[in-house]
Symmetry: C2
Subunit: 303 residues, 2 copies
């Protein structure tokens, strides 16, 4: 089952060096979920050939322009192309007024319902539950109310192991019985538990954390995820700037990844002062080895 994230934008504040403000699309089993929507996101959806009609849920981290100014244009384009199914938008309190005001004053005739979930929480909260995926929002520490999002598969993936099928010469009917939930199986005249015949793949998870000051307090909400996106706006020599503007340094992003015992870290939301982001990756690796920079168009598989 596909579970991957495509980076549409990775820069902070404003576009620079061909890097655009934040947006990502999570693809889980061909259901698409957008995270943040900086200006020009709809152009990059086209560029990277992402089927925008499959996006039904948009999660906004916070209302700073570089995370949300592309949303009115995207919603407007959906209307122009006759969308009918509802769009669900999640974000901090105020998201509804921002979007409603812009769409009303620009006389947009929106052909579909926009369903808002406004967040005003101090703990982790489940905001979406589908048949195979859950999404949680959790508060981060930035200059304005800001939320991270955790995408977690609902169930373990359980299969009969290939080795067991070969070893016991299991029939199609037997495999079907196991998948249907049989706890035991009669093999060579003996009743055996099916548990030993199964492979269990743990549920996979992805966490998005941008923007936030360095905050070990959020580790509890993202513990053990397969893939963590964490902002790394500055190099650590500008820690005072990071602290002041409530952002994280690359070194600190690596520390969060280490504390949370994640499989892999991707960093982004780079300050426009950095033309080359390789030194940020190097620095993050001082704290945590498995780091990559999020670059526009990159696709990261999860788990």
């Amino acid at each position: 089952m596909k579970f991957e994230v495509t980076i549409l934008g990775n820069n902070s504040a404003f576009p620079a060096y061909g890097r655009f403000p934040t947006s990502q699309v999570v693809n889980h089993d061909d259901h698409l979920f957008m995270i943040d929507c900086g200006e020009g996101t709809q152009v990059r959806l086209s560029k990277f050939r992402i089927k925008r009609s499959r996006i039904d849920h948009i999660f906004i981290s916070h209302l700073h322009g570089d995370h949300v100014y592309g949303l009115p244009g995207l919603l407007n384009s959906y209307a122009h192309t006759g969308r009918e199914k509802p769009m669900h938008i999640y974000g901090p309190k105020g998201i509804r007024m921002l979007i409603d005001t812009v769409l009303r004053l620009s006389a947009s005739i929106v052909s579909y319902d926009i369903v808002y979930t406004e967040l005003d929480h101090t703990d982790r909260v489940k905001v979406f539950e589908g048949s195979s995926l859950r999404v949680y929002a959790f508060p981060m520490k930035h200059r304005v109310p800001t939320y991270g999002y955790l995408f977690e598969e609902r169930k373990e993936k359980v299969n009969v192991s290939k080795e067991a099928i070969e070893f016991y010469g299991l029939s199609v009917d037997q495999i079907r019985a196991i998948k249907a939930g049989s706890q035991t199986l009669r093999l060579d005249g003996e009743e055996i538990s099916v548990e030993s015949l199964l492979t269990r793949r743990p549920r996979r998870s992805y966490a998005f954390c941008s923007d936030t000051v360095y905050d070990p307090g959020l580790v509890k909400w993202i513990k053990g995820v397969d893939l963590l996106y964490h902002e790394a706006t500055f190099m650590h020599d500008l820690e005072h700037k990071a602290e002041f503007s409530k952002h994280t340094t690359a070194l600190q992003a690596g520390m969060i990844a280490r504390l949370a015992e994640v499989e892999k870290l991707i960093i982004g939301h780079f300050s426009s002062r950095y033309k080359d982001v390789a030194p940020l990756v190097e620095e993050a690796r001082e704290s945590f080895p498995e780091v990559e920079a999020a670059e526009e168009g990159m696709i990261f598989s999860i788990g």
Copy 2:
């Protein structure tokens, strides 16, 4: 003295085929004036190396998203780069609330004053007067309140003709005296009027008309301009669609140019149904010979 317009975007509704929503920059003697600001305009300012710090006036035709959704991001970027001088924004009533609401909810710390001129006029009105240029707004007929803009040089350019300087062997002092306003000059013992020694270049003008239904009523406001930009959203076989959505066909844009006796017409605001815009130019030429399509990055000299 430079007087030219750079096309930053020319498409209607939403981005398609590498065409972006409406925006233009008028350069008059290195003072820059922006007209409309569709989503992503700031990226194209960088792409076409336009000195954004020289823009002090932004004229918005109407509040439909494809003409205004790039404005919050641009204003935000000015703040990030420490702009201090005021920005003047002109547009239909509502522009202030739209921008103020977005900037407030996105917690933008704007480091400079934004001075709004909200239009609610039924006749042509002067909205800007500089030392060498005037800008007028005039109402157009669209689905929402919409204004066109006329950029007109204030004065004729008066010079002493090269031929007269050579023929009479005029001294620097004599030329200075004429430029300072002397009406007569003593030449070979004879008092002559300076009028015959002068070249007068007529004042130059540019008119921007988008979006509007075909409306000969606006001709009186743009009569005789050197360069006219007029929308041509549809081919004439879709005249009913143009009429219904309050847009103009290419044939009709040519008719407006002919009625207004302009020097040259550029058409834009093309519907996304047209991948190739050459047929729209061909059609406009049936009504008026001097037509070009506005394409991103093109620069049109005026006069």
